[in-house]
Symmetry: C2
Subunit: 464 residues, 2 copies
Amino acid sequence: MNTISPRPVDAVISAAREFLGDRLSLNATIREQHAKGEDNTTPTLPDAVAFVETTEEVSRLVKLCHQHEVPVVPFGAGTSLEGHVNPVRGGISLDLSRMTGVLEVNADDMDCLVEPGVTRQQLNEYLRDQGMFFPVDPGSHCTLGGMVATRASGTCAVRYGTIRENVLGLEVVLADGRVIETGGRTRKAANGYDLTRLFVGSEGTLGVVTKIRLRLHGIPEATSAAVVQFASLEGAVRSTIEVMQTGIPVARIELLDDDMMAASIAYSKLEGYAPLTTLFLEFHGSEAGVKEQAEAVEAITAANGGTGFQWASDPAVRAKLWKARHDSYWAGVASKPGWKALTTDVCVPISRLVEALVGAKQEAKELGHATCIVGHVGDGNFHQMVLYDPNDPQGLERAWDMDRRIVSRGLSLGGTCSGEHGIGLGKREFLEREHGVEALAVMRSLKAALDPKGIMNPGKMFRN
Amino acid sequence: MNTISPRPVDAVISAAREFLGDRLSLNATIREQHAKGEDNTTPTLPDAVAFVETTEEVSRLVKLCHQHEVPVVPFGAGTSLEGHVNPVRGGISLDLSRMTGVLEVNADDMDCLVEPGVTRQQLNEYLRDQGMFFPVDPGSHCTLGGMVATRASGTCAVRYGTIRENVLGLEVVLADGRVIETGGRTRKAANGYDLTRLFVGSEGTLGVVTKIRLRLHGIPEATSAAVVQFASLEGAVRSTIEVMQTGIPVARIELLDDDMMAASIAYSKLEGYAPLTTLFLEFHGSEAGVKEQAEAVEAITAANGGTGFQWASDPAVRAKLWKARHDSYWAGVASKPGWKALTTDVCVPISRLVEALVGAKQEAKELGHATCIVGHVGDGNFHQMVLYDPNDPQGLERAWDMDRRIVSRGLSLGGTCSGEHGIGLGKREFLEREHGVEALAVMRSLKAALDPKGIMNPGKMFRN
């Protein structure tokens, strides 16, 4: 008699079917859609995909996985750039994208409570007629749950902070299915360990975020944009440093290097600009305030070799400029038809930004790589896109090698391998070098304390 | 033959003498000075006080304490209001007040690296001629190490954040003597668990902070202050909510209730003000910006019943106003000669602030308590001083009872028992109610993971 002993995951699937019904899917196409994010990693299939709709369902499912020691891999919009959602050890892909409720909006307290599948665009659409907005804006259509998991930021972090500063509290399903609330509704608290910040950036390795309380901000009375160009990277970075030192509350200060600007001029039909290093700025405040900010920035940039300062308060012009900035990834890819891109995410102290940018650019040129750069320069964070030919058998590996060089330079300048994309699979090799053996051991001991069976997004962040 | 078996602490004292010499003190007066903070707790003596001067000394001493299972109680300036520094189980009081080095100041990155014994006043004195300042300003002459430990804030948190938002990284001696660095020099990072935020607010229960990297801010071009008075608490709080919603970047917005204003007029010789609920404001920005902010606030307060709006850009007038605000604790105490004060620290969502303040005030009156209130109202945080007669045998106990009622009301309004003073001994009873059984269990599991022998500031935060 032939018997095949059942796999642990089969027990989970069979029990979960009882409360999820056909929202627990074994369909091949659906499993493939949950095999990787928007990154260059190798896809790995989950055994099943669970489309959960409530905290209770998450809790019951995670409890089953805990009991049977089956991996749980949270999945939002699948926009990870570092392999966060790949089920590298199989198990259940926990798809939270149907949890899209905006549960509360409190105008007096300027906060809201949302489910993790809400995207930032959906939230801002919802808030628009209430005079408030949520300022953390990664480039992709990611979910707020994914943003919490990866400690995301974007172009407005220089003024409004990253998601770390804008999360007031969380509801989290722990690795054994228990449900906790962290943080609270107050703007500050000195009331025990900061569990909220422990889960923000934990990349699904400590628990599943099922509710998020966010700080909101008032839509400013006036908004204006400006563009200024430089013959050198140094002038643009020096300008940024002085703007920050002077305390001008710029809402955005973004750098495009000459290659990226050339690509964006072609892709986004930006007329009247030269293919030079360029700063895109945005100012939020009162009518008089944004004018004053723009004038102060113009003076600083002029003193650092900036030319052609253009100020745009017309919404249509502003929208075109920022669409061009947000499309820069696609502009970069389009600059080499048929090629693909690997995107780095180094962040350095702003004083070392020129060295990081100029050094990485020069090394890439010497090694024959086509690269272009966008940078959240107010934060010292930049994305150097390394373009590669997918038909070249060594193409991706060579791009990874260049990525490693860019990161190594960043680390040697006191920086980090990731400003906002997270560690996932792709950056694990740098974590020990960055934090040291003992600090990494502390992180592992926290993981062991909260997920003793190692079922929460295993294989991510740490190399085992 | 009579033998007394040696206590574990004697082994630590004898070994630590070898590298600390007479900086390890058994002197009775010195031990008494380390028996409590500025609070109303019962003093408890440490077995010895160690005046450490280097990270290496801290590490060696903590390692010895770990080996012999002897409690370690970090001590800075001794300004705790919640019993944080009381060696309730004896052991070593680890006095870090001699570690006062400002190790680095980086103007381009606007950060600095300091030792934990530096006070915020010392740091700002040091920075003054460099055009930068550190904005987190608790009322007392506390050390930055103590501020990190208690997640402190102050009057400027509404604009610049609490110490949580202003710490970039830490050096920490763990419970077994290992030394780690957390965070880094970059303004943001998505590179693993947020160990920095785990230690900020951990009240010495997870490790000893031996270095602190802080974000600095540019001294604003212009500063001005304003005072406005209200016939009711409601008008003042409603004004605050509208100022926040409008996004006016007030640097400070502080409330004194009628009783506190009366006390401050008497104590600080404030002329020209009535004993009414009062908002003290400060504006930071450009010359035109602070004027615009003041005008916008005046319009909002006038619409909410504010009267006598006075604007002061004269530094001497501003200094007198803010000295009066900072001296309000002493003004409150002086309002009842010979009496003492217990200070509460409730923080609520700002939409519930009127209920919290009016309710607590009324209940205090009904129970025959003299109380006066100062509030960081932009954050929803207020300190209600409960005055008591130290010669009344029931005086302190009655004040504690009132404190509990104020906290209970705050919790029922979605608030926290502590906005900025921390848990220590005094607020432990509220922690489970505030976070729930399971979240508190998670905190305990983190404590167990990082301090398995329970030597780090035992008896604080958790009731065992």
